[in-house]
Amino acid sequence: MRTVFKTSYDADINLFRHRAQAGWYALLALLAVLLPWLVNVFWLGEATNMLIWAIAGMGLMVLVGQTGQASLGHAAFLAVGCYANVLYQQKLGLPFILSFPLGGLTAALAGVLVAIPTARLHGLYLAIATLAISILVDDLIVLSAPLTNGVQGLYAPPISIFGLTIDRYGNPYLFYWVVLVVAVLVVLLYRNILRTPLGRAFAAVRDSEVSAKAMGVNVAKAKAVSFGISAGITGLAGALMGHFAGIFNNETFNLLISIQLLLMIVIGGLGSIHGAFFGAIVVAILPQAIALARDAVTGALGVSSIAIPGLETAIFGAILIVFILFEPAGIYGRWVKIRTYFELFPFYRRDMFRRQRSYLRTERMR
C-alpha cells in the first residue's frame, strides 16, 4: 500500500493523488490517442460510440450522482443538443466549431428551464417529471415537423473544422479524436466541479437539503445549475451522437434511451466519473457480445442466425438487477474493492465496505 505524505493543501486540491497515479492516467491517455493504430475500423467505431455514451453518462452523473436528482428524461437533452447543433449548421450556416458548443449551451438552457419549475420536486417525483419531459420532447419533435422534419428525421452533415472534413466513415480516426478531445475536456470540467464550492454545494443538496439551506446553499439555484451543466454535457453528447449516426429522428432519443442512460450509470457506479465510463463500456460492448454469442450458438447448432427482439435490453436489465441486488455501488464499487484487496493484501477484511442497513424512513415527510 502506498503512503502519501501530504506537505501542502495542494496535495488534496490537485487532480492526481501521487505521481504513480498521474503516470497510469498518462499511459491510458497515450493508449487512447494511439487507438486508431491498435484496432481495426469496426472496433474504432465501437470505441467512439463508447466515448459518446460516456460523455452522456457524465452529464447525467453530475445530476444523479453528484446532486442526487434522479432524471428519467435525459434523452430529451440529447435530442436538444443534437437538433440544435445540426439546425445551427443548416439554418444559420454556422461552422461546427461554433454550432457544437452552442448546441451544448442550448441544451444547458433547456436544462435550466426544466429545473426552475421542478425545483420543489424530490426523488421519485422529479423522476416522473423528467420522464414526462422525455416523452413530450419526443412528441414535440414530431409536431414541429417544419423545423425538425418530423419522423423522417434530419441528416447530419460531415463535421468541418477549418476546412478539414471529418466524417465517421470517410476518416473514422479523425472523428474518434474529436470525440476523445471532447471526452477529456468534459472529464476535466467534471473534476473541477468536484473540487470547488460548486461541487460541494451539489453534494450538500444530495445528502440533506435542509442542512444545505442552513449552510447558505441556495438549493433551488444549485439544482438549476446542476441541471444546466448536466443537460449541457448531455447535449454535447447528443450532438456527437447525431454526427455518429448520420441520420436521426425523434425515435433516436425516445424514453427508452433516457432509461438506458440512467441504468447505464447505475451499473457503472453512481457518483464517480469512472462509473460513467464503465457503464458506457457495458452499453457499447453488450450488443457485440450478444452477436458473438448468438453466432457461436447458431454455428454450433447449425441453424441460421435468428434475431430475438428485446434480447439486448433484457440482458441489460438482468445485468442491472444483479448489480442492484449484489453490488449497488456498481462496477466501480467492485473495482475499488478489488483494488483495496490487493493494496492491503493480506489484510483486507470482508466487512470493510459494509454499509449500515437502515429501516425504511418514510419519504412522505419532506
Partner: protein, 291 residues
C-alpha cells in the same frame, strides 16, 4: 352520440389505466416502494390468462382460466417480493424504481419468448358483445371494465381503511421499525401487498385483453398508468382511479378536437403541470419533514 361513445371508450381505457395505477398505489401505500413494472405485471396477467384459455395453448374454459390467472399472478407477486424486492431493504426509493424498470425489460422479453411478439387476441366471452341501455348501445367489454374497476377500487378502499390487515399495512409503511416493534409482521405484509398488486394487475390485464389484441409491449402502458397515479395523487386509491379516468378521457378528446398527434402530449403536459403546481397530486398525502 358521437361524444358519448368517446366518453365511454375513454372511460374504459381510463379504467384500465386506473387499475394498473391501483397496483402502483397499493404497493406504494403499504411499502413505499414504486413498482415500475406494474404495466408489465398487467401484460403478464393478460398473457397467463391467454395461455390458459386460448385453444392453441391449454384451452381451459374462460371462467376457470381467469381466476386461475389471477391466482398465478398473486403467487408471482408474492414470490417476486420474497426473492428480489426484500433484498432492497433500506435502499433508496429510486433504487427500487430502477430495479423494477429493469425487471420490466426482462418480463417483456420472457413474454415475447413464450407467447410471441405478434398481436394476439384473448378468447374472452365478454369480447365483441353489445349491451343496450335504453336506446344506447355499448360494448359489453367496456361496461365490464368500468364496473369491475369501480367495484375493485371501492373494495380496496374499504380494505385499507376498515380492516385490521389493511390498517396494519398502512402503519408499516409509515415506519417499518415502529410497526415491527408493535408486532406487525412487516415482511409478510410486504409480500402480501405485492401479491395483491399482482392480482389487481391480472384483473386489469384480462379486462384489457378483452377489449382488443395484446402483445408484450403493452407493458409500456404502465408508464401512462403511472402518470395517472401521479395526477390522482400518489398513495390515494380513489386518486389512482380518478387519474386514470382523466388520462383516458383526455386522450380521445385531444386527438379529436386538437389534432391526432396531441393525444399523448396533452396527457403528459397535464402530468407535468400537476407536478409543478400541485406536486402531490389532486388528492395529496404528503407532509413537510420536521427537523
Amino acid at each position: 352520440m358521437d361524444v358519448l361513445q368517446l366518453v365511454v371508450s375513454g372511460l374504459a381505457n381510463g379504467c384500465v389505466y386506473g387499475l394498473i395505477a391501483l397496483g402502483f398505489v397499493l404497493i406504494y401505500k403499504a411499502t413505499e416502494a414504486v413498482n415500475f413494472a406494474q404495466g408489465d405485471f398487467m401484460m403478464l396477467g393478460a398473457f397467463v390468462c391467454l395461455g390458459l384459455t386460448n385453444a392453441q395453448f391449454l384451452g381451459l374454459p374462460f371462467w376457470l382460466a381467469a381466476p386461475l390467472a389471477i391466482l398465478i399472478m398473486g403467487a408471482f407477486g408474492y414470490g417476486l417480493e420474497v426473492v428480489v424486492i426484500r433484498r432492497m431493504f433500506g435502499q433508496p426509493q429510486v433504487a427500487v424504481v430502477i430495479l423494477t424498470i429493469a425487471l420490466g425489460f426482462v418480463l417483456r422479453f420472457v413474454a415475447g419468448l413464450i407467447w410471441g411478439n405478434q398481436p394476439v387476441s384473448l378468447e374472452s366471452p365478454i369480447a365483441g358483445r353489445d349491451v343496450r341501455f335504453g336506446g344506447v348501445v355499448l360494448g359489453l367489454d367496456e361496461v365490464m371494465v368500468i364496473s369491475v374497476t369501480v367495484l375493485l377500487t371501492v373494495l380496496l378502499y374499504f380494505y385499507f381503511n376498515r380492516t385490521r390487515l389493511g390498517v396494519a399495512m398502512q402503519a408499516a409503511s409509515q415506519n417499518q421499525l415502529a410497526a415491527y416493534y408493535m408486532g406487525i409482521p412487516v415482511k409478510r405484509l410486504n409480500s402480501l401487498v405485492w401479491a395483491l398488486s399482482g392480482m389487481v394487475a391480472a384483473v386489469a390485464g384480462i379486462l384489457f385483453a378483452s377489449k382488443g389484441s395484446i402483445e408484450p409491449s403493452i407493458g409500456l402502458l404502465g408508464i401512462k398508468a403511472f402518470a395517472a397515479a401521479v395526477i390522482g395523487g400518489f398513495g390515494s386509491l380513489p386518486g389512482a382511479l380518478l387519474g386514470g379516468i382523466i388520462i383516458g378521457l383526455i386522450e380521445p378528446f385531444s386527438a379529436r378536437y386538437i389534432a391526432a398527434g396531441y393525444s399523448q402530449v396533452m396527457a403528459y403536459l397535464l402530468l407535468f403541470l400537476i407536478l409543478v403546481f400541485r406536486p402531490h397530486g389532486i388528492l395529496a398525502q404528503i407532509h413537510s419533514k420536521k427537523v
